[in-house]
């Protein structure tokens, strides 16, 4: 099993006004690439071995900013694939996670932890497409 810390909030860039978005896009080099690489709900922030957050030592993992997804029986190959990075369109420097958990498709317990099996991974994870800038 591996434990995945997952982004569980709205990114500040998604709350940005159109005016601010245009201003930054105009004034700041690479802002569009940064925007496209922004964290979004379901993105994997960190992965840790079994029990890191769930063995009782730690009181929490930063909920509600983050959610925790534990995947049973996850082999190393699948773990590495899950956290694979992919280039953002148009640049090889900006990278984002290739995969994202569909948090709405997961069952969270009262401690905000979802536990799934590796066999369920494909239906719980999205191979992300590039979102278009707002506006």
């Amino acid at each position: 099993m591996a434990e995945f810390l997952v982004y569980n909030m709205e990114n500040h860039m998604d709350r940005m006004t159109l005016e601010r978005f245009k201003e930054l896009s105009y004034e700041r080099k690479n802002f569009l690439a940064k925007f496209n690489a922004r964290y979004q709900r379901g993105d994997i922030i960190d992965k840790r071995p079994d029990g890191f957050w769930t063995d009782g030592k730690r009181k929490g993992f930063g909920y509600p900013k983050f959610a925790l997804v534990c995947v049973k029986d996850l082999d190393d190959k699948a773990t590495n694939l899950t956290t694979e990075l992919r280039d953002v369109t148009g640049t090889t420097l900006f990278k984002r996670r290739r995969f994202r958990f569909n948090l709405d498709a997961l069952q969270f317990n009262d401690k905000h932890i979802a536990v799934i099996k590796q066999s369920e991974l494909t239906e719980k994870v999205t191979d992300k497409i590039m979102e278009l800038p707002i506006g």
Partner: protein, 587 residues
């Protein structure tokens, strides 16, 4: 502009919300994801403190990418007091980013990283994807990995680096694009280049030290980089500062560079050798928070308190320090005075180096408190040096040279003294019964009269060299049970050992002594001893010499006859010792 505080501790077991130490984030990377914001619009700046409450490392690479910053609304990542990198070496007990690959990628425009220990196989800090007008401050950081401390990888990148140390085999800078200014920093032991700038890049390197690298500075011909007031093996740049000597590790400049201790010695050439305010107001303090003097020292360490070097010179009468409190003084130099220096009971608790030179009368140490004194050098004085009972329990090296009269040690506690060098003194040196339990090396040379050792405790002494003395050296009943090497040579009279205990003596070499060598009741009862006696004009006296070892080799080499007087009561217990008996028979 409001300060937003957040905390990172890899050992934290709280709620992981970053609001305080108990609930700190467990990695810098998680903190960055959680705290991203448009700080510019909110008019806030993010202040992240780091620590490791139980010595755990932060092993997750961090990319600082998701925020909007400005010159006043920036992100600062700072190791908290007690967990900041040290000038004295790597500390496994404090916060450390230890990452395979890059530790921190700085892609936001205004980021300040302060006080961190970083160990990267790639870049400790890489600056890329930033905009024009951005900056990245890197201060008081230490990198010990095989990668680079800082890489600037963007034409708009602008790094300002100060008080940093790179000593892990990788480069300090690798500037492929943009600008990188480095002030008061040290690069030591880079396998290839210390500071590396590609064509088209810019920067200035001021008040820095770069040594024992493949190439201290590798500046491409197409780069525009100023090197000024720096010290290096090659003497690169404008206003180069020479090292103080002593060897490739610059031991006269730093306490222990080979083991990562870049504490500056007060007597170093690097002290006060820089140019003031190299960053034009960017910083004013050293790695310890001490204000840089004017002019400042090179490297990361200012001598504490700034004006901590007291020089007294050219006075006809003298200097008397009765009971001043000079607790920040690191260096005291007294020279060219007719009468003397008297230290009665001053508190000089930070004094590291005391140098007294070229005085007609001498130095009198009453009972000052000199608990941090590491080096005491007394040279070229007409009369004498007298030690009462000063507290010198950190003294490492005591060098006394070129004096007309001598050295008197009553019974000071010198429990850390490792090196005692007495040379070129016309009359005598007297060691009463000082406590010298850590003394490893005792060198006495070119003294006209001699050295008298009463009954000192020298139970760590490994090497004793006595050479080129006209009259004699007398050892009372010293305990020398760790002595490994005893060399006596070039003396007119000789050396007397009365009843020493020399149970670890392995090498005894006696050469060119004109008169005599007296061993009285010497016990040499361990194996593998080599005894070499060569070129003695008159004789060797062995009384009650007991050679109980089984594999001793005793070599005598006398070109003529009648040159060796044996007044033997020597006892030989093993067959091998009979060779010794045969050689004695030559006399």
């Amino acid at each position: 502009m409001a300060e937003l505080l957040t905390y990172v501790d890899p050992d934290a077991v709280g709620g992981g919300t970053g609001v305080d130490w108990a609930n700190a984030y467990v990695s810098l990377s998680i903190m960055e994801a959680a705290e991203q914001d448009d700080f510019d619009t909110a008019n806030n700046w993010l202040h992240c403190y780091t620590r490791s409450s139980s010595g755990g490392d932060d092993t997750t690479a961090c990319t600082i990418n998701g925020s909007v910053t400005s010159a006043t609304d920036y992100i600062k990542i700072e190791a908290v007091s007690g967990h900041r990198m040290k000038k004295t070496g790597w500390d496994a007990a404090i916060y450390l980013m230890d990452v395979t690959g890059d530790c921190i990628n700085v892609w936001d425009n205004h980021v300040w990283i302060d006080g961190l220990q970083l160990d990267a196989t790639g870049n400790a800090i890489e600056i890329a994807n930033v905009a024009a007008g951005s900056w990245c401050y890197i201060s008081n950081c230490r990198h010990s990995g095989s990668g680079y401390l800082v890489q600037v990888f963007d034409a708009d990148g602008d790094a300002k680096v100060w008080n940093c140390i790179n000593n892990g085999g990788g480069r300090f800078t690798y500037v492929t694009d943009g600008n990188c200014d480095v002030y008061n920093s040290i690069c030591y032991g880079a396998a290839t280049d210390g500071f590396d700038y590609n064509a088209g890049t810019t920067g200035e390197i001021i008040n820095c030290v770069s040594f024992k690298n493949g190439d201290d500075f590798n500046i491409d011909g197409g780069a525009t980089v100023t090197i000024d007031y720096c010290a290096s093996d090659d003497g690169d740049g404008d206003h180069p500062v020479a090292e103080s000597g002593g060897g490739v590790e610059w031991p006269d400049d730093f306490v222990d560079a080979a083991n990562g201790d870049f504490t500056l010695k007060a007597t170093s050439n690097l002290v006060g050798a820089g140019i003031a305010d190299p960053g034009s107001g960017l910083f004013s303090t050293d790695i310890d928070g001490d204000t840089y003097a004017t002019p400042p020292s090179l490297g990361v360490d200012e001598i504490a308190g700034g004006a901590t070097e007291l020089v007294v010179a050219g006075l006809n009468v003298g200097l008397t320090l009765e009971s001043p409190v000079l607790s920040q003084l690191h260096g005291l130099t007294v020279a060219g005075m007719d009468i003397g220096l008297t230290l009665e009971a001053p508190v000089l608790s930070q004094l590291h180096n005391l140098s007294v030179n070229s005085m007609d009368c001498g130095l009198v140490l009453g009972s000052p408190t000199l608990t941090q004194l590491h080096n005491l050098v007394v040279a070229s004085m007409d009369i004498a040096l007298t030690f009462g009972t000063p507290t010198l329990n950190q003294l490492y090296t005591l060098a006394v040279a070129s004096m007309d009269v001598g050295l008197t040690l009553a019974s000071p506690a010198l429990t850390q003294l490792h090196n005692l060098i007495v040379a070129s003194i016309d009359i005598a040196s007297t060691l009463g019964s000082p406590t010298l339990t850590q003394l490893h090396n005792l060198v006495v040379a070119s003294v006209d009269v001699g050295l008298t050792l009463g009954a000192p405790v020298l139970n760590q002494l490994h090497t004793l060299i006595v050479a080129s003395m006209d009259i004699a050296s007398t050892f009372g009943e010293p305990v020398l049970n760790q002595l490994y090497t005893l060399i006596v040579e070039g003396m007119n009279l000789g050396i007397s050992l009365e009843a020493p205990v020399l149970t670890q003596l392995h090498i005894l070499s006696i050469n060119g002594v004109n008169i005599a060598l007296n061993f009285d009741n010497v016990l040499l009862d361990i194996g593998d001893v080599t005894l070499i006696v060569d070129g003695i004009d008159i004789g060797l006296t062995l009384e009650e010499l007991i050679l109980s070892m089984s594999t001793a080799q005793v070599l005598f080499n006398y070109p003529g006859k009648e040159r060796f007087d044996y007044q033997g009561k020597a006892k030989f217990k093993h067959s091998r010792d009979k060779t010794f008996t045969k050689n004695i028979g030559r006399s």
